[in-house]
């Protein structure tokens, strides 16, 4: 199942990340996972949050430039080679991963990986056939 990831444009300035997290926190929005892609001048903050729609509108109102991107979150075995197994499936199908970041669910034993990848619908089909667990929106908001 596809999940909406929130991306925020941040200039490389002191306090900007703090401001984003403060805005979200004040509205009771929980950040499940995050990663930052950065260059010398700006960064893109990518987040999986508990309520993506609300998060988007609050951030926009607070003056941030925000966009939503579809990603998937897959569960992988927390053991050596766990990630490699999933990536190999994708590579064999010639599917290019644009970026990924991982996090660990507090209750779970396994690692969770956010994947931004081309041909998302095709990827979902493929991973299902290969018995890779893809998290649903509900599962993520319950994490």
């Amino acid at each position: 199942m596809k999940i909406n990831q929130i991306s925020v444009f941040l200039e490389n300035k002191i306090g900007r990340l703090a401001e984003v997290t403060k805005v979200l926190g004040s509205k009771g929005i929980n950040i499940r996972a995050l990663s930052i892609a950065d260059t010398a001048e700006f960064g893109i903050l990518r987040m999986i949050v508990s309520q993506p729609e609300e998060a988007c509108s609050i951030l926009e109102k607070s003056g941030f430039t925000v966009s939503k991107t579809e990603v998937i979150v897959v569960e992988i075995m927390d053991r050596p080679g766990g990630l490699a197994e999933v990536l190999e499936i994708l590579a064999k199908a010639c599917l290019n991963v644009e970026y990924l970041y991982a996090f660990v669910a507090p209750k779970g034993k396994n690692a969770l990986v956010v994947l931004k990848i081309e041909k998302l619908t095709e990827v979902v089909e493929l991973l299902r056939r290969e018995k890779v667990k893809i998290l649903t929106r509900e599962e993520i908001s319950k994490l």
């Binding site: 990831q5 991306s7 444009f9 941040l10 200039e11 900007r16 892609a37 260059t39 001048e41 700006f42 893109i44 990518r46 003056g63 941030f64 430039t65 925000v66 966009s67 991107t69 644009e98 970026y99 931004k116």
Partner: protein
Amino acid sequence: MVWNKKYECMPREELQSLQLKRLKEVTQRVYHCLSFYRRKFKERGICPEDIKSLKDLNKLPFTTKSELRQGYPFGLFTVPLSKIVEFHVSSGTTGKPVVDGYTRKDIEIWAEVSARSLSCAGVTAEDIIQNAYGYGLFTGGLGIHYGASLIGAKIIPISGGQTTRQVMMMQDFKPTILTCTPSYALHIAEISEEMGVDLKKLPLRVGVLGAEAWSENMRQEIESRLGITALDIYGLTEIIGPGVAQECPEKKGLHVFEDHFLPEIINPKTGEVLKEGEEGELVLTTLTREGIILIRYRTGDITTISYRPCSCGRTLARIGKIKGRVDDMLIIRGVNIFPSQIENVLMQIDEIEPHYQLILERKKGLDELTVELETLPQIFFDEVRKIEEIERKIARKIEETLGLRVGVRLVEPKTIQRSMGKAKRLIDKRKLK
């Protein structure tokens, strides 16, 4: 609508003989009243009697802003202080302010040319004018006010700033005319959009916008976001204030009220008078003012002039939209550019709203210009690669158009300072060293 048909539609020969008569009068007066002018005339070996035709104008010396500053505060008045009824000072976009002193007759002239300007833009006694030019020492607010009063229009003297209040007034008082700087008009559009107010649905129909150089593309942006016809007004404190020249709805240049202000275009480097259509610095001579008389005043504004009559019926000369200021002109690695040219390029790129500023720095002895642009959802992507592509695309477009390599940097929304008056587009960090 023509406010004063006699003067605005006067056959050129008749106008020229009027100009010559007035020019002779003012040269006599400044020569006899002010040692400042007498000394300058003598240095050039001329006296007022040498002015026999309008062509002799170029024998007269130029007057510059720095000379006016040296006369601060009242040194260049041509009448005794007792005749002065009002003071204004220039907004000081560049350096220290310059003082203008107006006699009762000067105020009447100002009201007249301002009324001509507003009529030229289509204002009548039926209109309600939201006058968002600053009131006070700046000439914008009161200049428009005097002209609007003469016409008998209804004035909301709201002055600049307090933008949410401006929008509220627009909804409640339903003005038909907005007068302010073009950058402030865009700011009002932005705030009204945030407030969820659609200005296009209000009766507002014309903007009389000036006091800073603005591009044709900025006009389109203002017109589409406010749902108005945006027309350019030109003026400067030293000459009188707003009402020196005004664009009519033909949008083919600004009519100079030549019976009061005699225009020339010169090469800013050599001082040579240029031909019709050639681009250079606008020079103005006041023909009727009393408090301060300026002979061949170098405005610092870059434009062109045309003497062809306009289809609106006016025979007055037209100057093109001001392209920039002589002192705004940047020479970067040998390329001459005006900030307005960069703005023009930016506005041609669909996704972009023109909230930008230019940062000029010197790195390893070379001047480097960086364009900072605010991001918008339309130009924000989740991938670094795509954002960098946008930056490169804009830089390429500027290089293709202006022949200058610049850096482009996206910044967060609302981080570039909004102006209530004249927009500050250039930050020159070279001077700080």
